[in-house]
């Protein structure tokens, strides 16, 4: 699973101080629910991303606990307030122990 997992994020390059910006994220992932049967009739074991967190300069923006009802290729859109120039850290936690991370900087305009 960890092979073809690819995070993508959309963050503005710049923002005014204390501006609220919209952020969109996508990560390619099967999100195997643990409820589907395979061709052999056996249940395919659950394998999902179970948590997604976003921080900015170490402070929390959003923390999402994810369940198997989240669709394949999880998508999130949310807003963040930008108090200063700095860096977003996006982190996805996989059932299999893998952790995927992306970072994006934003400058003050």
């Amino acid at each position: 699973m960890a092979d073809n997992v690819k995070p993508r994020v959309r963050v503005p390059k710049t923002a005014a101080k204390d501006e609220v910006v919209t952020i969109k994220t996508l990560i390619s992932h099967q999100m195997e629910s643990g409820q589907r049967k395979g061709k052999d009739g056996q249940i395919i074991p659950r394998s999902i991303i179970n948590r997604f967190t976003v921080t900015f300069n170490g402070a929390s923006v959003i923390d999402v606990q994810m369940e198997p009802a989240i669709s394949t290729n999880p998508y999130f859109e949310f807003e963040a307030r930008i108090p200063e120039a700095g860096e977003f850290v996006f982190t996805w936690y996989d059932d299999d122990g893998s952790v995927y991370e992306d970072k994006q900087s934003i400058a003050l305009a």
């Binding site: 959309r10 969109k24 996508l26 998508y75 859109e77």
Partner: protein, 541 residues
């Protein structure tokens, strides 16, 4: 009715001048054409005998048909208006008044309005590229050429998308008009994928035109053909686009909509700032605008039968008044435009022998439109039962497809009611339980009290199967008495039935094309004799 007035009488009573007569009004004219389904040549088209409205829509246009419709709009039985707008005595009146539509006649109507009203705006409500042999063979290009020549200034879409994303983009590249869709978003990042609106400047006015594509495209049609896009009603988005236009100081806001009439009616009451909704998709022809608050809704029929002319008095950024005419395009009365006739001939020339080949004969009227099986649908279902050796046939409740008077059935006629990019006729097994679920599901898409849950089609057509339906019941409770016609047995939820059908939205569906199935059946039968369908019982309150 009035019996069968002679053709001479009928034509004496009608002139082109009379059909186009209009007392000019105000300072702006809109011309609306929608749901032609690529019917380049004049057709017969019988309006529905059944169009049930539930909830608030009950008893309201377009859910009024036949005699009640004639009374509501003071239409004399047997008159040209009765023939064009209602079903009674259709076969006799058709013999008198002739076919309707044809793009060469439509071009004459448009040119005449433009001559009287320079700066008139022509708008195309969509379902333009699909529905005929030539549109399928040219993959929509014929209609792009025709609409370019006609001078349409903006369009929106529905069946256009069934050519697939790549072809839609190619054809947009050939168009002299924008494809507008405020409610079309890219499925990945949820961002607008099409231009939502266009400001057209004319006669010193700035007219904001918002496009609204069919909201349920990926549900009613195969979403795998255009996986990049997401649709939906998106009422808040519509409000935002209208507000943006108002913010840019437009004088008038027109919504070019493919929502379907009841959805437009509800939307008109919930989105503010729209002056005119030009409504498409449900194929209703309504002779007067329907007023909801400060918004008027115009319904212009289908298959080229009608062109709507709407004159408006626009002052101080407001619509102060309107005058409207639903112009019936009587093809024997309106002179063909030679330029458009030339283009149509050129488009059809390579296919002329294929189009005109006689496949069989019908002893009765063939029609489709109505909430339940029409005689065309019965014929298609019979063909599937026979050619695919099935117990039950399912045929989509689409509202397109011309009617046909008794006589020859050509390949072009068959394509009028079957043409599509996913016409494979499948054969499969389905449990009685699944059949009931399908019927209930489709019924709810038509008879849900909330228009936003309606998809604007008609009930799935069935062959080999009888049922009783109560449109006013709730989902899961509308369909009773499902019966296998071949032996009169009740449908058993646990038993599997051999089912043939076509127009599946599932990718990878296999089978011969439905038009070939119908052709083979007709060749075998020679002549068909449509009989009234007594297997479907309707409960009304």
């Amino acid at each position: 009715g009035l019996g069968n007035p002679t053709r001479a009488f009928a034509q004496q009573a009608l002139t082109q001048d009379q059909l186009l007569q209009f007392d000019d009004f105000g300072n702006l004219t809109l011309i609306h054409l929608t749901d032609t389904h690529a019917h380049l040549k004049p057709v017969w088209f019988r309006e529905p005998d059944t169009n049930i409205g539930v909830g608030e829509a009950s008893g309201r246009v377009p859910h009024v048909v036949g005699d009640a419709f004639q009374k509501m709009f003071s239409i004399r039985p047997g008159s040209p208006e009765a023939y064009a707008l209602t079903y009674p005595d259709f076969q006799n009146l058709a013999a008198s008044y002739g076919r309707m539509g044809g793009f060469d006649r439509i071009a004459t109507v448009v040119k005449s309005i433009r001559a009287a009203r320079p700066g008139a705006i022509l708008l195309d409500g969509g379902d333009t590229w699909h529905g005929s042999y030539t549109s399928l063979k040219t993959r929509g290009e014929d209609m792009v050429r025709v609409m370019n020549l006609l001078g349409s200034q903006a369009m929106t879409a529905h069946w256009e998308f069934t050519f697939g994303t790549q072809r839609v983009q190619e054809l947009i590249g050939m168009m002299n008009q924008p494809m507008l869709g405020a409610n079309i978003f890219d499925a990945e990042w949820d961002e607008p994928a099409f231009e939502p609106s266009k400001i057209i400047e004319t006669n010193g006015l700035r007219v904001g035109v918002v496009g609204q594509a069919f909201p349920y495209l990926p549900i009613a049609n195969p979403g795998w053909l255009f996986p990049e896009y997401s649709f939906g009603i998106r009422e808040e988005r519509m409000q935002q686009v209208v507000d943006d236009l108002r913010g840019q100081g437009v004088d008038l806001v027109v919504c070019l909509s493919h929502n379907g009439f009841d959805v437009d009616h509800k939307m008109a009451g919930r989105v503010s700032g729209i002056d005119v909704i030009l409504s498409g998709h449900t194929h209703d022809a309504i002779p007067e605008p329907v007023v909801v608050g400060d918004t008027i809704i115009i319904a212009s029929g289908s298959h080229g039968k009608f062109v709507s002319r709407v004159d408006l008095d626009v002052r101080d950024g407001r619509m102060m008044g309107f005058r409207h005419k639903l112009i019936p395009v009587f093809s024997d009365v309106i002179e063909p435009d030679s330029e458009m006739a030339g283009l149509i001939d050129e488009i059809r020339a390579p296919y002329e022998s294929e189009l005109s080949e006689v496949i069989g004969k019908s002893e009765g009227l063939l029609y489709r439109r109505g909430n339940f099986n029409g005689s065309w649908d019965d014929l298609i279902c019979d063909a599937m039962l026979s050619e695919r050796d099935a117990e039950i046939a399912l045929s989509p409740g689409v509202r397109w497809g011309a009617s046909l008077l008794p006589g020859d059935i050509t390949r072009e006629d068959i394509h009028s009611v079957t043409s599509m990019t996913y016409g494979e006729c499948y054969r499969t097994e389905m449990s009685g339980e699944m059949l009931k679920t399908v019927m209930e599901d489709v019924a709810d898409n038509i008879f849900n009290e909330d228009p936003y849950y309606q998809q604007g089609g008609d009930m799935v057509r069935v062959g080999g199967l009888g049922y009783t339906i109560d449109p006013y019941a709730s989902i899961g409770n509308r369909i009773t008495g499902m019966t296998l016609l071949k032996d009169g047995s009740a449908i058993d939820p646990a038993r599997n039935y051999v089912v043939a059908g076509w127009a599946s939205v599932n990718e990878g569906t296999e089978g011969p094309q439905i038009w070939d199935v119908v052709e083979n059946y007709l060749r075998r039968q020679g002549t068909v004799s449509p009989a009234p369908n007594r297997a479907i019982r309707l409960l009304t309150d």
